[in-house]
């Protein structure tokens, strides 16, 4: 039997997960611009109803007049409760007409709110296409004017600073995506002499008007100033001969 949609049974044709990069409009890809201009609707994840969305701020000039709908992803820890919000957001997308885009800061494959929806879209066999955006660790390295890794170096990306002592000795470069408590952690696990083996770059709200960029030894960084949720740190070992 063929599927024949009736009234109230409309299903979205295709969902684009679009990364809009770290904050600079010019870091949008040509494909992101094309897709955002052609879709029938744009979904915008927000953490609170009516709160402005950084992702939308990046694209709003490009998509002026296009229908938009917010998806509520509150910043709560209760997984069961979060699932309800994810399912609700998913139902909203599913019942949209035509092709739609869900926008996300940075890249949809790296710690993105899109990944929760992605799983549900796949479960229901709804076509998904990813349009990559510049991921924030790379944009921040560019902003700091340093390579993340070269040659035979190894890179690790951690969602936050926990268990950092396990990774510090193993890798040339460590990216910590949220810097809350990072200063405290680094000072706890590294003795005074050991701290000189590292250089740290921290970028908070990179590419936005109120960006805060620091690069230096652990002692020189003002970690208090970088508690914004759009902050990250790049920790590089400098005690090796070839650095």
């Amino acid at each position: 039997m063929e599927y024949s949609p009736g009234f109230g049974d409309v299903m979205v044709e295709k969902v684009y997960g679009v990364g809009v990069g770290p904050g600079d409009k010019e870091l949008l890809t040509l494909k992101a611009v094309k897709v955002l201009k052609k879709v029938d609707k744009i979904f915008i994840p927000v953490s609170k109803e009516g709160r402005s969305s950084l992702a939308y701020d990046i694209v709003k000039d490009i998509v002026e007049g296009k229908p938009v709908e917010e998806l509520l992803f509150p910043m709560i820890k209760n997984q069961e409760c979060l699932k309800i919000y994810h399912e609700r957001a998913f139902e909203n997308i599913k019942s949209a007409q035509g092709e739609v885009a869900v926008i996300t800061i940075g890249d949809p494959t790296l710690y993105s709110t899109f990944s929760y929806l992605w799983r549900l879209l796949k479960r229901d066999n709804i076509p998904v296409e990813i349009v990559n955006g510049i991921p924030s660790p790379f944009a921040c390295a560019g902003r700091l004017n340093i390579p993340l890794v070269e040659g035979r170096e190894k890179l690790v990306i951690l969602p936050r600073g926990e268990d950092l002592e396990r990774y510090l000795g193993l890798f040339d470069t460590i990216v910590v995506m949220k810097t809350k408590r990072l200063g405290e952690i680094l000072k706890r696990i590294l003795g005074k002499e050991e701290r000189d083996k590292y250089l740290v770059g921290v970028v908070s709200k990179g590419f936005w008007e109120d960006e805060n960029i620091q690069w230096g030894k652990i002692e020189e960084i003002d970690f208090e100033d970088i508690n914004h949720y759009l902050s990250l740190a790049i920790i590089k070992r400098v005690d090796r001969e070839d650095i």
Copy 2:
């Protein structure tokens, strides 16, 4: 004493390190297009004189008529010998007039030929600006239609498969940038039962006409087919409840 350049003493004003992404022209950023159109010259790293450049193939329609110059980075292992090529490439850039761009596949901060020049440019206080491109691990995850990491997961990026056994237990997702011998390594370090704990995605020449994409269990992947230098693998643990 002020620096006054004389004849034959021209020095480049600014160097842009421009990432052109993984291969799809549409994954260029708006900024990359703008910069490539405005610079006075484009430098193209090549591994052999006269050999076509994948990075240039991506941008050639955009920069038609623009002066280009090849920079020779041969694929040799002798570090002393390589240094001579880097210095020579650097001298060519340094003596160019106006603003120039050096293009690189993917992103300039991730295992890029640009990083060697970057060091020399900084040493001589020549202004450098990075224009990020979509890095290949993220583009390949998009192509495979999978997130790289979500929630509290940790990601590691390795330049090749060596020491892989050390990292397999520590990370949710491992990216191996060059897949040569990867099949062999995985089968050596993982017993038959352990292999089922992982799913592997391999992308060779992603976004090019002759791309090869595979996703499945270790036993199902044809590793022989993915020896191209533009190949990478994404190894994901699937034995955890929440995946």
